[in-house]
């Protein structure tokens, strides 16, 4: 009986936390984005509502709720109405698997990663429906771009997570004491167990970004594309497509897309935190110390608060990186975006899986295997950074090797050779017309 009550309380607390966190995170994130961008861009940002403009987003939300819902007569109305809900619902449901602290993991499914990946790929349907249902040319182009982009980047996103799961299989091989790992020798796809594998008692600081920096980079890049954030914000590219698939939306429907986008950002950061940055591990997250100090109940409370703090801290660093990237980078072009995914990210993540897997199979000690794979991954990361420039390229086909260039789909845009006037001098050429 006591267990049942405790479980119910556990569930209620966790779900309430998730829901409130989602709503609060979006508003706080919007405020933080505006302030942080203002800081980088040498301006002040929101200033007038509340101290330092802290209430600005709350006023904005109020405005959005009260705004008139304008809808065009010629929209496909059912699709148009359903699209924001289909976009928003997966965000809400994906939140439950996020592990904020050991206690706040009620929805900790054994199949956490699969669940998250499945839900995050539903978003694309919402985007495409919004583009089609709006009966607007900009929206249509935006919706199609969104569909192509989100499907393409879904693959490297999943593939970049695979090495992490492989690593857990090695790290749990010894079945370290107290790590609550039931299946020894088999990798886990549960968030809490992956976090547990990163804070084993013998190697408490073995966060996976130390072993898989390339995995973090590719995952984060694909996360940018999945959430339609700059530099991959092609579906809603403001300077090209007005607002892309959001062109015809206003008021609350628009707010749902908006909230969904920021929710997606939060989720991507949270998943990256738990997979690569060690989840809630950090200074002061030893439960034994706090229980001995405050007693069983209050010790647990303090411990969980500290865990949540570290989790949110790491998450907000990743979220700030989202904003930082937005202020720095221009937008890619549609064909460059596709080329980057199919010709670069997917092969790279596949190579990463192969290499990590092969190294983890070597008949040497656990420590040596893990260290070797880590070193190999760091090397791959540098290859990634060096070749990035060569592959995105300066001409429409990039500086690809010729054997690869022949197979790319689509014709290159007309680029004539720059004139060889440098030797002759500029005026000579114009004279000889």
């Amino acid at each position: 009986m006591n267990d049942v009550v405790q479980n119910i309380i556990h569930l209620v607390v966790t779900f309430l936390f998730s829901l409130i966190f989602l709503m609060a995170a979006a508003t706080i994130l919007v405020y933080w984005e505006r302030k942080f961008m203002a800081l980088m861009q040498d301006r002040v940002g929101p200033l007038h509502y509340g101290p330092q403009g802290t209430l600005q987003t709350i006023f904005d939300v109020g405005k959005l709720l009260l705004k008139e819902d304008i809808k065009s007569k010629s929209t496909d109305f059912i699709v148009f109405r359903l699209a924001p809900m289909i976009f928003f619902a997966p965000v809400l449901t994906a939140f439950v698997v996020l592990p904020f602290s050991p206690y706040l993991t009620a929805g900790a499914l054994g199949t956490g990663i699969i669940y998250y990946v499945a839900l995050s790929s539903i978003d694309v349907i919402g985007v495409f429906m919004a583009g089609w249902g709006s009966n607007n040319k900009y929206a249509l182009i935006g919706g199609l771009r969104g569909a192509a982009q989100m499907i393409s980047y879904e693959l490297p996103l999943v593939l970049s997570i695979v090495p992490v799961i492989m690593l857990t299989s090695v790290l749990t091989a010894g079945c370290a004491a107290g790590a609550n790992l039931n299946a020894c020798g088999v990798g886990s796809i549960s968030f809490s167990q992956i976090i547990a594998a990163q804070m084993r008692p013998d190697t408490p600081w073995l966060w996976f970004f130390l072993l898989q920096p390339l995995g973090l980079m590719t995952y984060y890049t694909c996360g940018l594309a999945e959430t339609n954030r700059p530099p991959f914000d092609l579906p809603e590219a403001e300077s090209e497509l007005v607002a892309g698939y959001l062109t015809e939306y206003s008021g609350l429907r628009w707010a749902m897309f908006f909230l969904g986008e920021y929710g997606n950002m939060t989720i991507v950061s949270a998943v990256a935190t738990s997979l690569f940055l060690g989840g809630w591990s950090g200074p002061g997250t030893a439960v034994g110390f706090w229980t001995s100090f405050f007693g069983s109940f209050w010790g647990q409370v303090v411990f969980n608060i500290i865990c949540v703090f570290w989790f949110l801290f790491k998450m907000s660093i990743l979220l700030s990186a989202f904003i930082w990237i937005r202020t720095t980078l221009p937008r890619l072009r549609a064909d460059q975006l596709m080329r980057f995914a199919w010709l670069f990210l997917i092969p790279l993540t596949l190579v990463n899986i192969l290499l990590t897997g092969a190294l983890l199979l070597l008949p040497i000690g656990d420590f040596a295997r893990v260290a070797l794979s880590g070193v190999a991954n760091w090397l791959l990361l540098f290859v990634f950074i060096v070749t990035f420039r060569r592959v995105t390229g300066v001409n429409p086909l990039g500086r690809l090797p010729s054997w690869l260039r022949g197979r790319t789909v689509g014709t290159p845009t007309t680029r004539k050779r720059p004139m060889e006037a440098e030797k002759q001098g500029a005026l000579a050429t114009t004279r000889s017309r």
């Binding site: 005026l427 114009t430 004279r431 017309r433």
Partner: protein, 257 residues
């Protein structure tokens, strides 16, 4: 009308270039070749600010343009200005030589009644929009232009606005598309009421709400005027609006305009 100075002969133009005189002489020497190509001497004039001007008959324009581009090195047609000189319309072309830094002005005169000049699009690509613009603002027809439509003004625009005969104030005043009372008449209340009444009669019953959403007295009052009911009701008191008795009397209705 001629724009040459009336008296005092040729005024020495102020020098723009340090090597102005040599520069101009060089250009004049080169222009002698144009005479050969055209088969007749082309009138040349030394204008202000170090510019040489020539004058060409309309039918020779394309030939002259080709000669200027190919043998004299004027690679760029930089400007076409229409000018209305009352007796005739003029198109003033300015050519630039990128390699020699020359600037040449070519004047083409055409009668106002039948303004036609051959198009230079085949020789200079930049002539396309420039000629369209000149056609738009002056009505000069450029013969052979591939796409001679209005450039800056609306397709429905009547007339060519930069002609001196163009009236800047419209000669026909259309009715204003509003039921708003003329502010001058609105000064006296009685006039305004007459006006409102007239407007209302034109619009007919049942459309009062559509007339003036902002002025409730107008619509609601008018209903009472037509039917003769509702005088002194709360609505009127609320708006602080009373009606002269004469309007309620059918005999003393003001005549409709």
């Amino acid at each position: 009308m001629d724009i040459a100075p009336r008296s005092g002969g040729a005024v020495e133009a102020p020098s723009l270039l340090a090597y102005d005189r040599d520069h101009i002489n060089e250009l004049l020497t080169a222009l002698a070749r144009l005479d050969q190509q055209m088969g007749q001497p082309v009138p040349k004039r030394h204008l202000n600010a170090g510019i040489v001007g020539i004058e060409i008959a309309p039918e020779m324009v394309v030939e002259a343009g080709r000669a200027l581009r190919d043998s004299l090195g004027f690679e760029m047609l930089t400007c076409i200005s229409g000018v209305d000189m009352i007796e005739q319309l003029e198109a003033v072309y300015h050519f630039r030589s990128i390699s020699h830094f020359w600037l040449l002005q070519m004047r083409v005169k055409t009668p106002t009644s039948d303004a036609r000049i051959p198009s230079l699009v085949g020789v200079y690509s930049s002539a396309n929009w420039l000629e369209r613009e000149t056609y738009d603002l002056y009505g000069i027809q450029f013969i052979g232009h591939p796409d001679l439509r209005r450039m800056l003004l609306d397709d429905e625009f009547e007339g060519h606005p930069l002609l001196k005969s163009f009236r800047t104030t419209p000669s026909v005043v259309h009715d204003r598309a509003t039921t708003q009372v003329d502010p001058i008449r609105a000064i006296s209340g009685e006039q305004q009421r007459k006006q409102e009444r007239t407007v209302l009669k034109r619009l007919g019953q049942g459309q009062q709400e559509r007339i003036h959403p902002g002025m409730t007295t107008f619509g609601s009052e008018a209903v009472f005027l037509e039917t003769g009911q509702g005088v002194g009701t709360d609505a009127n008191a609320m708006h602080g609006y009373t009606i002269d008795e004469q309007y309620l009397d059918p005999a003393s209705k003001p005549q409709e305009e």
